[in-house]
């Protein structure tokens, strides 16, 4: 029961209780973020720059103008999808590092099908997105089946499937789907069949953002308002008890990873249909991996995932401005994300800061399992 109490919806009574729970839930990420920025400040000092100038530029680049906000939203959009891919699997006690490959599967499906159905115009969008959900679901199911049937650990299989998916996508983009052009890759999707920009001076930010928010809502409803979601979470909290209650651990394992795959693939599709209009080789990388940080920052809750994606999206767009204003390389943002991830489950560290209460807060953010089992 103590585990369930942490969920905002099921937590303490009334608004006060909910706020207290939300505050407690945010504690780990907030501490991790603060320490990470302190370390970032030291790194900036070491490069011979002023941390205040650098962080001011970071903030300006992330939120300083409509264009900056648009860039932050643009960056956050794919991260919501890849974050959900990790979070849903995590709720079943599974660590999906396969978001990167699943993202590529969605991207190449969207590029191929989007070009083929371009003449349908606007109508092509839902068809292509549905197809990407399907390919992502199937691709995501592979490590689930390997785990459920053969006991192959999903951490290693999802990583291996990343390399396989990326190579497969590149093969398709460079061979059957290749077009003549300066940049190697697929043909460009007809503008009418692409996800339009929001406008309002927000630069390239597009309606894919709303698809991402919708996906987060669906993930929430699925996990907390359906029987299937209940089973997935039950398997994650206690496989033994779930099995005893008659739930299929294997089926829920496969479904959790497959649903995660569908979300990540949708992210790849939105990136292709909303931003690039095609798949180039090489294509954008690391969005899948960053999704891990997003999910953990967001405590594997869809609302948290959206917030985490906004934060890391802001960090990415701010870093560009920081590199421009100072001479701190924008890769600093990746270092900060890694440090946040390193600290975000450090129970004892938080305990040192806030005392024993930390232990009650950590449940649900860790897997407590080894490899090969």
């Amino acid at each position: 029961m103590t585990e369930e109490r942490r969920e905002p919806r099921e937590g303490g009574s009334g608004i006060g209780g909910a706020l207290r729970d939300a505050g407690a839930t945010l504690l780990f990420p907030v501490i991790a973020i603060l320490i990470s920025f302190a370390i970032g400040a030291v790194i900036v000092l070491l490069t011979g720059n002023n941390p205040v100038t650098a962080f001011a530029a970071l903030l300006r680049g992330a939120f300083g103008s409509p264009t900056a906000i648009g860039r932050t939203l643009l960056n956050a959009t794919p991260l919501i999808f890849t974050g959900l891919a990790v979070a849903v699997a995590f709720r079943a006690g599974l660590f999906n590092i396969g978001g990167e490959g699943q993202f590529f599967i969605g991207a190449i499906t969207a590029a191929g099908l989007g070009v083929a159905l371009g003449s349908l115009g606007f109508l092509a969008i839902p068809i292509v997105l549905a197809a990407c959900l399907l390919t992502g679901f199937l691709w995501g199911a592979i490590p689930g089946l390997l785990k459920a049937r053969f006991g192959a650990h999903e951490v290693i299989t999802t990583i291996m499937l990343n390399y396989i998916a990326i190579n497969l996508a590149y093969y398709l983009a460079l061979n059957p789907l290749r077009t003549e052009g300066l940049v190697p890759g697929t043909d460009t999707i007809d503008i009418a069949a692409r996800i339009p920009a929001i406008g309002l001076g927000l630069g390239r930010a597009n309606f894919g953002l709303f698809i991402a928010l919708l996906a987060a809502l669906v993930a929430y409803l699925l996990l907390w308002r359906t029987r299937r979601g209940f089973e997935i979470r039950a398997v994650g909290l206690s496989p033994g008890a779930a099995g005893y209650a008659g739930m299929s651990i294997g089926l829920n394992t496969v479904l959790a990873l497959a649903i995660g795959g569908a979300f990540a693939a949708l992210g790849g599709a939105v990136e292709v249909m909303g931003v690039y209009g095609k798949m180039t080789v090489p294509f954008v990388t690391n969005l899948g991996f960053t999704g891990i940080g997003v999910a953990l920052l967001g405590r594997n809750h869809p609302v948290g995932v959206v917030l985490g994606a906004l934060l890391l999206g802001a960090l990415a767009s701010g870093a560009q401005e920081m590199q421009f204003a100072t001479d701190v390389p924008l890769q600093l943002a990746n270092v900060l994300v890694a440090v946040i991830l390193l600290l975000v489950t450090a129970t004892k560290l938080v305990e040192l800061i806030i005392g024993k209460r930390a232990r009650a807060l950590v449940a649900g953010t860790r897997l407590e399992r080894g490899l090969g089992s």
């Binding site: 192959a152 990583i159 390399y163 407590e368 090969g372």
Partner: protein, 307 residues
Amino acid sequence: MEDFLGSLGPLLASTIRFATPLVFAALGGLFSERSGVVNIGLEGLMLISAFTGVVGAWYSGNAFVGLGFGLAAGLIFALIHALMCITFEADQIISGTAIILLALGGTGFLMVEIFGSGGTSPRVPGFKEIPIPLLSDIPLFGPALFSQSLLVYLMYALIPITWFVVYRTPFGLRLRATGEVPEAVDTAGVSVTRMRYFGVALSGILAAFGGVYLSMGLLSAFSEGMTGGRGFIALAALIFGRWNPIGAAGAALLFGFAQAVTVRAPQDVVPNEFLQMIPYVLTIVALVAFAGRAVAPAAIGKPYRKE
């Protein structure tokens, strides 16, 4: 037939070269996992060491100074993982993932800071091949096995040494016990924390040898993301080899062979992208075939708290 034998030697030689970083990392992973700490950060530890090795060699003009840099970096970042997992009780898999992201981000950041741009570093002095007299004259196997760099010979030696340390020394016994029944180790008056720090530290040093070999043995430069999943393949080799040094090394050799075949296969028959997939597909196949039967150390992945 002449042709076949002629190509077998080079194929064997490149099998050894590709297997070397995998063996180092797998043996490193073995020490960490036997002590009860999952180290999926091997990939990151290799990447960081591959980079710092090149930086050291670039500043000093000496490959051995580079190796020292690489080993130090591998050790430091392994200790960060140890601090997080053992002392601060962070989730081991998440901490390991963070180490990988830290390696990717950190090397990307420092490439720009030190060499002025990302991508590939300038060439640095690497470890040259040193043929062993007489042994390297053996037909076929001689040049493949005994005309390699110093780090490869070290790798040969480390396989039996690791086996001996793990199975025939008091340290090895304590290490294995720490991964299986930490409570018993604690009762016997041995510090679980200390044993785990040792295990993770050793994994950092060994993974560092693998990383340095990658950037300064196999190549003479660092390029971003050059580990390409080798840390994970090494982990799979460890599982495949059932947490036994000989088994893990054997599995690493098999994966090295797959990579050697991939590189040497004729490109016009099978598209390059499919060739690239082979080592990863093989890793999954090996996992599927053996994972069910492999038994991991019992206490792996769990932080230990004294009652």
